[in-house]
C-alpha cells in the first residue's frame, strides 16, 4: 500500500506545511481509483449504498417541498452531503453511539432513526427520539458542543471495557469553537474510542471556509492533538465508508480518536430561511453536481453491471413510496401534549414546575 502521508517543502522558516492527500476510492466518473478496496466491494454493498442514498435524497427533497407548502417549519437541507452521512453511518456497529447535528438526518436515519425525525422541524420534540436502545442523540443545535460529549461517552465506553465506539458529526464552521478544541484534546489525552467526522461543505451559513480559518485544510488540525487525520472525498461513499470503518476499528482497538475531514458541498441554502445567492454564486454551486455522490454511484453501478436504469427507477419508486408513507404518518401524529413541557425537566417535577403547570392548565380551562 502506498504511503498516505507526504511532506511538502516548508512554506516559511517557521511554518510546516503538512499535506494530507485526499483519499478517494471511486472517482466522480464512477471509476475505481484505489485498487486496495477492489476485493471489499461487491454488488450487495453498492446496492445497499445506492438504496440509502436515494432514500435520503428523496427525503431531503420532500422536506424542502413540505416546507415550501407550509407543512414543515424552517428546515436545513443536506442535499450534496448524502454520501458523507450515509457512508459513515453504515460503518458503525449496532451498539455504537452517534452525536449528530441538525443537518445530519441522513446519518441519523441510516443508523436507525425513523423518518419521524422530520417532525422536529414542526417543533415536535418527538422527532428527537431514537428507537428503543439505539444510541442516537438528539441533534446538537449549539455548534460544536457535541464534541466534548462524544469524547465523554467514549471515555465511558473505555471505562466500562465495552466495545462501543462513538461517532460525532460537525461542520467546517464548528472547528472555530473552543469546544472543538477541548473535545479533541480530551479524546486524545484519554485515547478515547471516538471518530470526529467533519463534513467540510465549504460554508458556515454565509461564511466560506477561507474566512473561517487560515489553514487550508481541517484535517491538519489533527496535528495539534497528535491523532490520526484523514482527508477524503466526502462525495465518494466508498472512501467514506472504508475510512470511517478503519477509524472506528482503530478506536475500538485502543488506538484512540481520529479526525476525518470529508470534503463535500451543500447545493442549497443553509436552511430554508436562508438565501444563498446573497453570499455566493448559486450557478457555480449547481456546477458541482458533476461531483454528485448519487450520480457517481450510478456511474459506478452501471460500469460494474450491478444495476441498470430499470433497477434504479425501482429503487426511486420504492423510496418515494416509503417517504410518502412516512409523511402521512408524521402528519397524523396526535397533537403535542402540553404536559411534555413540564414533565421532562427533572425526573420528578420540582414544586415550582408543578405549580406553574397546575396554574397554566387551570387557566386554559377557565379560558374556554
Amino acid at each position: 500500500m502506498a504511503a498516505k502521508v507526504i511532506s511538502t517543502p516548508l512554506l516559511s522558516e517557521h511554518k510546516i506545511n503538512v499535506h494530507f492527500p485526499v483519499q478517494q476510492v471511486v472517482n466522480h466518473q464512477g471509476q475505481l481509483v484505489d485498487p486496495v478496496y477492489e476485493s471489499a466491494i461487491n454488488e450487495e454493498l453498492a446496492q445497499t449504498f445506492y438504496r440509502q442514498l436515494v432514500r435520503m435524497r428523496t427525503l431531503d427533497r420532500k422536506a424542502k417541498s413540505l416546507q415550501r407548502q407550509g407543512r414543515l417549519g424552517t428546515y436545513p437541507p443536506f442535499e450534496g452531503q448524502e454520501a458523507a452521512q450515509v457512508g459513515s453511518a453504515l460503518a458503525l456497529e449496532a451498539d455504537d453511539w452517534m452525536f449528530p447535528t441538525y443537518r445530519d438526518h441522513a446519518a441519523s436515519i441510516t443508523f436507525g432513526k425513523s423518518y419521524g425525525i422530520l417532525s422536529s422541524w414542526n417543533g415536535r420534540v418527538e422527532g428527537n427520539l431514537p428507537p428503543a436502545g439505539k444510541k442516537i442523540l438528539p441533534p446538537s443545535v449549539p455548534i460544536a458542543t457535541q464534541l466534548p460529549l462524544a469524547a465523554g461517552a467514549a471515555m465511558a465506553a473505555k471505562f466500562k471495557g465495552s466495545s462501543e465506539a462513538v461517532i460525532a458529526y460537525f461542520g467546517d464552521g464548528a472547528t472555530s469553537e473552543g469546544d472543538f478544541h477541548e473535545g479533541l484534546n480530551f479524546a486524545s489525552v484519554y485515547q478515547a474510542p471516538v471518530v470526529f467526522f467533519n463534513q467540510n461543505n465549504g460554508y458556515a451559513i454565509s461564511l466560506p471556509i477561507h474566512k473561517q480559518m487560515n489553514s487550508e485544510t481541517i484535517v491538519q488540525k489533527a496535528v495539534a492533538y497528535d491523532i490520526p487525520g484523514v482527508r477524503l472525498d466526502g462525495n465518494d461513499i466508498f472512501a467514506v465508508y472504508f475510512q470511517t470503518k478503519k477509524a472506528l476499528e482503530r478506536a475500538r482497538n485502543g488506538g484512540g480518536p481520529t479526525l476525518i475531514e470529508a470534503i463535500t458541498w451543500r447545493y442549497g441554502a443553509h436552511t430554508t430561511a436562508d438565501d444563498p445567492s446573497k453570499y455566493r454564486d448559486q450557478q457555480e454551486s449547481e456546477e458541482r453536481r458533476e461531483y454528485d455522490p448519487v450520480t457517481r454511484l450510478e456511474h459506478f453501478i452501471k460500469r460494474n453491471g450491478y444495476g441498470d436504469d430499470a433497477w434504479m427507477d425501482s429503487v426511486q419508486i420504492e423510496a418515494s413510496e416509503e417517504i410518502e408513507e412516512a409523511v402521512k404518518e408524521m402528519e397524523s401524529m396526535p397533537p403535542p401534549d402540553i404536559n411534555d413541557m413540564y414533565d421532562f425537566i427533572f425526573a420528578a417535577p420540582t414544586w415550582t414546575i408543578a405549580e406553574h403547570k397546575q396554574q397554566y392548565l387551570k387557566h386554559l380551562q377557565e379560558e374556554e
Binding site: 449549539p142 461564511l207 413541557m341 413540564y342 406553574h356
Partner: protein, 331 residues
C-alpha cells in the same frame, strides 16, 4: 423659530440598522462584527447593506466562535475601537459568558479605570417565531445579576435607535437585547437624525389608576392588549415599559405602584430568578405600605422554552395577563 425633525416609518429591525448606520457615520472607531453580519447582512438582516456602505474594514464577518468574537471585541475596545458585536441569538451567548463575566465587566474595576471596554453586544432574544431549541431563550437575568454591564431592551423602533446610539456612546459594556418577535411586526416613527434615549429610564406608555403593569421588549404588545381589554372592564392600567433592565428605573416603578397599590409584572424568562423578583424587591424597599394586594407575575414557567409546537403555551398571553389583573384587583 420652528425646527422640523424629519422622520419616517421604520420596522423595528430597520430602526436598529439605522442606529448602527448613524454611529458608523458619526464615529470612525465604530466597527460591527459577528457571524454572518457582513455580506449576508446578518441572519435577520439587521446589518443589511452596512458592509457595502462602509466597507469590509468596518463591518466584517467573524469565525463561528462566540468566545473569540467576544474576546476580540473586548481587545478592540481596549485599543480604542467601539465594537458592536452581534450574537446571532441570545441562546448562543453562553460560550461567550466567560469573556463577558471575567473581562468585559471587570476590566475597569481591576485597573481602576485605566482600561475600559466601551462595547455593545447586540442579541436577538425570545420565543414565538418557531425557531429551533436554544434560539428562543430570554436570559437577561444572567447579565443583570452580574456587575459591570448594563442591559437594555427596547420595544419600539424609536427607542431601538435611541438606545442603540446611547449604548454605543456609553463608556461601559452594554448588552442590547432585541425582541426578535418584533423585528418586522412592529413599525413606528423614527427620526432620521441622531438622538439618544437615556439608559436607565423607563417610560409610562399608558396612564391609569388601578393597576401597574410592568414589562419590556416583546411583552409590551401583550401587555398593552391586556390593558385595552381591562379598560373595557373598567380597569385603568398604568403601563410601564422598562426599556432598561439594569439599572432598573426605580423611580418610575415606585411612583406608579404608590399610586395604584397593585402590580402585575410580565416577562418571558423563567419565574425563578427572573427580573420580576428584582422589581418585587424595589417595591418591597420603596412601597411596602402602599401595596393593597400581592404582586402578580406572569412569566415563563421554570421550564426550558419548549420545542415550538408548544411555545405558545410557554409565552405569556394577553389572557394570562388579564387574569392576573383581575386577581390583583379583586384581592
Amino acid at each position: 423659530m420652528l425646527t422640523t425633525v424629519k422622520s419616517r416609518q421604520l420596522t423595528f429591525i430597520q430602526a436598529i440598522t439605522d442606529g448602527m448606520r448613524t454611529m458608523l457615520k458619526e464615529r470612525k472607531e465604530v466597527v460591527i462584527l459577528g457571524e454572518d453580519v457582513g455580506r449576508n447582512g446578518g441572519v435577520f438582516r439587521a446589518t443589511d447593506g452596512l458592509q457595502e456602505e462602509f466597507g469590509e474594514k468596518r463591518v466584517f464577518d467573524t469565525p463561528l466562535s462566540e468566545s473569540g468574537l467576544m474576546g476580540a471585541s473586548i481587545g478592540m475596545a481596549l485599543n480604542g475601537l467601539l465594537p458592536i458585536a452581534e450574537i446571532q441569538f441570545l441562546g448562543f451567548i453562553y460560550p461567550a459568558y466567560e469573556q463577558i463575566m471575567t473581562h468585559a465587566t471587570r476590566m475597569r474595576y481591576r485597573s481602576k479605570g485605566v482600561f475600559t471596554v466601551p462595547l455593545v453586544i447586540r442579541a436577538p432574544y425570545g420565543a414565538g417565531v418557531r425557531a429551533p431549541e436554544i434560539h428562543s431563550d430570554s436570559a437577561e437575568a444572567l447579565f443583570t445579576h452580574m456587575p459591570g454591564i448594563k442591559v437594555v431592551c427596547p420595544s419600539t423602533p424609536y427607542d431601538a435607535k435611541g438606545l442603540l446610539i446611547a449604548a454605543v456612546e456609553d463608556p461601559d459594556p452594554v448588552l442590547f437585547l432585541e425582541p426578535l418577535h418584533s423585528y418586522r411586526s412592529i413599525r413606528g416613527d423614527v427620526p432620521e437624525e441622531k438622538y439618544t434615549v437615556e439608559i436607565g429610564k423607563g417610560q409610562r406608555v399608558q396612564e391609569g389608576e388601578d393597576v401597574t403593569l410592568i414589562a419590556w421588549g416583546a411583552m409590551m404588545p401583550v401587555v398593552l392588549k391586556a390593558a385595552a381589554e381591562a379598560a373595557k372592564a373598567g380597569i385603568a392600567c398604568d403601563v410601564i415599559d422598562l426599556r432598561t433592565l439594569y439599572p432598573l428605573d426605580k423611580d418610575i416603578i415606585a411612583e406608579s405602584v404608590q399610586k395604584t397599590g397593585r402590580c402585575v409584572i410580565v416577562h418571558e424568562a423563567h419565574a425563578t430568578g427572573g427580573l420580576s423578583n428584582d422589581i418585587l424587591s424595589i417595591i418591597n424597599d420603596t412601597s411596602f405600605l402602599y401595596m393593597r394586594a400581592p404582586i402578580e407575575r406572569v412569566t415563563g414557567a421554570d421550564v426550558h422554552v419548549p420545542f415550538w409546537a408548544l411555545e405558545e403555551h410557554y409565552l405569556p398571553t394577553p389572557s394570562r395577563v388579564k387574569a392576573a389583573i383581575r386577581k390583583v384587583v379583586h384581592f
